[in-house]
């Protein structure tokens, strides 16, 4: 995500619309509004969170690769399956529920790769608590492509990068 900025700005209204989309999405996730969250995704979604590799600067492999292991490398089918698990009464580990806060910041909105698409950069902090004393925090950067579709603005691509080469908690039982 170190693009040289030749990205072109879009109108204030469009920028506001994309920002509002990202902030609303965070609120939907915090409220476990899974179906509404899925509704904001394009059927063609690629939702990707690569594992981060702790390599030397001169190593051409880089810190992540498309063909390597990932926390998420999902299309709509996979995301729906994850949601289906959250909704099962037998998801024992979700009852009592995990309590989430998704903080979204550093939003930048530009024209996307194709007409009707937007490129949006943002940062997040996700805080999860379970039981009385569990507190897990993950921060990271996101690079999204959003697209205007027939029934509104949809998330088409998301790349999530966290700074950690090892997740310092047992799972990621939310979306980022």
């Amino acid at each position: 995500m170190t693009h040289e900025q030749q990205d072109s700005l879009v109108s204030v209204e469009e920028t506001r619309r994309v920002e509002q989309f990202l902030l609303r999405e965070a609120r939907l996730l915090d409220g476990e509004c899974w179906d509404a969250w899925l509704h904001g995704l394009s059927e063609a979604i690629h939702y990707w969170m690569p594992g981060i590799e702790n390599r030397r600067r001169e190593d051409k492999s880089g810190p992540y690769r498309l063909e390597h292991m990932a926390f998420f490398d999902d299309g709509m089918r996979e995301l729906k399956r994850r949601v289906a698990r959250f909704k099962q009464p037998s998801a024992w580990a979700e009852n009592p529920p995990t309590r989430n806060v998704h903080l979204i910041s550093n939003i930048e909105v530009y024209a996307g790769p194709a007409p009707g698409e937007y490129l949006a950069y943002s940062c997040f902090i996700n805080v999860r608590s379970r039981g009385l004393d569990e507190h897990h925090q993950i921060a990271g950067r996101r690079e999204d492509v959003l697209r205007l579709e027939a029934d509104g603005l949809k998330l088409l691509k998301r790349k999530i990068l966290i700074p950690n080469a090892m997740l310092l908690c047992k799972n990621i039982n939310t979306f980022l």
């Binding site: 490398d73 399956r81 698990r85 099962q88 090892m166």
Partner: protein, 449 residues
């Protein structure tokens, strides 16, 4: 050069065995105390008497294709470098400078001709680990320093069909003896295809606040939890509950020296949880060839409902093709390293499906593993209570179900819903903690219940 010969300090000073182990671990009766998951003194003994002695998994050969390729991992809490040598062999070195002990390599993987310590510039050849030089080397030369007596400490290394293991114990049995007849079963995953196996790229690491034994024991022989713990994941992935394991027509638990494998003979029971029809199809098409290669019986295990732990902390699931190591990090924490294993000759799209499927099911974001981590953490944490710690935990399921006349290798028990492998695991754990040397470790094969 044998880097291990010169300095007697390098022999680990053996601490006396703890006195109360028979009281807190009684596998004749199938009883265990939660103290084994909590006590820091027990953990220190485990590092010395288990992790510094056993053969531990360090890499798959496919991760290091070229000379100078390296990766870093750990053996117990000892950090190590695994390096492909010019002669194509693989060496394992302590990732610690013999000057002040600093790490000499901070990257998880790469290619290098050598490793230079950041502190005083001691540098070591990737090939052989010899000390090559250092910052202000003239001062050392003037004090008659003998470079040849210093190098990265080397472990014993041996491979089995692509899996590389290492140990720092000079008196340990050979890897072949260590794995014993369990290799017959490991072949189901490592040797089902003539091209052998490989790891896909990357490694996902996470931490779980649980004792390492709980995770290792889960894979050594606990499919019992599958139908209950993983009901939600099975319904999400398969649209229905986990197969009723108790009603499968033929299943077994086998163990040997603490290693264990529980398995059904249903061909694709594990693989099906990935929800990828093409993977099931790939296994079904491959199966007749596996039957030619490994026999009809083992061809029914290639993606079956099953799990495997090589004692102490290396585990895998055939079918889901997840391979993992439970790195101990104190009595109440593990680092979990996971990889995906595939047949080298499998089509690329099948490899990609396995990579995604393994992560979708068994990884920190996996719909199955989420429920495991939660259980394991609270099995550990509840043991902080002193009364809870001395509650008898029941590990007695399947007593008296050993099949005396089975033709299968190892200690064979009837059925997968059986805690015989957990008993064998904890028995081995106790035997190692009590044995002053490898020669003192008793042979329990054929006598376990």
């Amino acid at each position: 050069m044998d880097n291990n010969k010169h300095i007697p300090l390098r022999t680990i000073e053996s601490t006396p065995a703890l006195g109360n182990l028979d009281r807190i671990c009684d596998m004749e009766e199938g009883r265990l105390s939660g103290k084994v998951f909590w006590d820091p003194a027990i953990y220190e003994q485990e590092l010395e008497k288990i992790f510094a002695r056993c053969w531990l998994f360090v890499a798959h050969e496919s991760q290091l294709p070229k000379s100078g390729d390296y990766l870093t991992t750990s053996m117990g809490e000892d950090e190590v470098l695994v390096v492909r040598q010019k002669d194509a062999s693989i060496k394992v070195f302590l990732n610690a400078c013999p000057h002040r002990g600093n790490k000499v390599c901070f990257a998880e993987a790469g290619n290098a001709r050598g490793f230079i310590c950041n502190y005083h510039g001691w540098s070591f050849g990737a090939d052989g680990g010899r000390l090559m030089g250092m910052h202000e080397s003239k001062c050392y030369e003037e004090s008659q320093f003998d470079k040849s007596r210093h190098g990265l400490r080397e472990a014993r290394v041996a491979s089995y069909k692509g899996l590389v293991f290492a140990t720092f114990a000079s008196d340990a049995p050979t890897l072949e003896e260590y794995l014993g007849p369990m290799t017959w079963y490991m072949d189901v995953m490592l040797d089902m295809d003539e091209g052998g196996s490989e790891f896909l790229g990357g490694c996902i690491r996470s931490t779980i606040e649980c004792n390492w034994k709980i995770a290792a024991e889960n894979f050594v022989g606990d499919i019992l939890h599958g139908g209950w713990t993983h009901d939600s994941a099975a319904k999400a992935m398969l649209g229905g509950p986990v197969a009723n394991v108790g009603e499968l027509p033929e299943s077994y638990s086998v163990n040997w020296n603490g290693h264990g494998y529980e398995f059904a003979t249903d061909v694709v029971g594990n693989a099906a949880t990935l929800g990828e029809k093409d993977i099931n199809k790939y296994l079904h098409v491959l199966r007749p060839k596996v039957a030619d290669r490994l026999g009809e019986f083992r061809s029914r295990l290639i993606g079956a409902i099953s799990s495997f732990t090589v004692f102490p902390n290396f585990s895998f699931l055939p079918g889901q093709n997840t391979v993992r190591i439970w790195q101990p990090r104190g009595p109440h924490k593990i680092e979990l390293f996971t990889w995906v294993i595939v047949n080298k000759n499998a089509p690329q799209e099948i490899k990609d499906k396995w990579r995604r499927g393994a992560m979708m099911t068994f990884s920190p974001t996996g719909v199955f593993e989420m429920d495991d981590g939660e259980n394991w953490e609270y099995c550990t944490k509840s043991s902080r209570g002193v009364v809870t710690r001395y509650q008898d935990l029941y590990v007695g399921l399947g007593m008296h179900t050993r099949l005396e006349n089975s033709e299968l290798p190892g200690n064979v028990f009837k059925g997968q819903l059986n805690e015989c492998n957990a008993r064998a695991f904890y028995q081995r754990w106790k035997d190692l903690l009590q044995a002053p040397t490898w020669a003192d470790v008793p042979d329990r094969n054929g006598t376990l219940r």
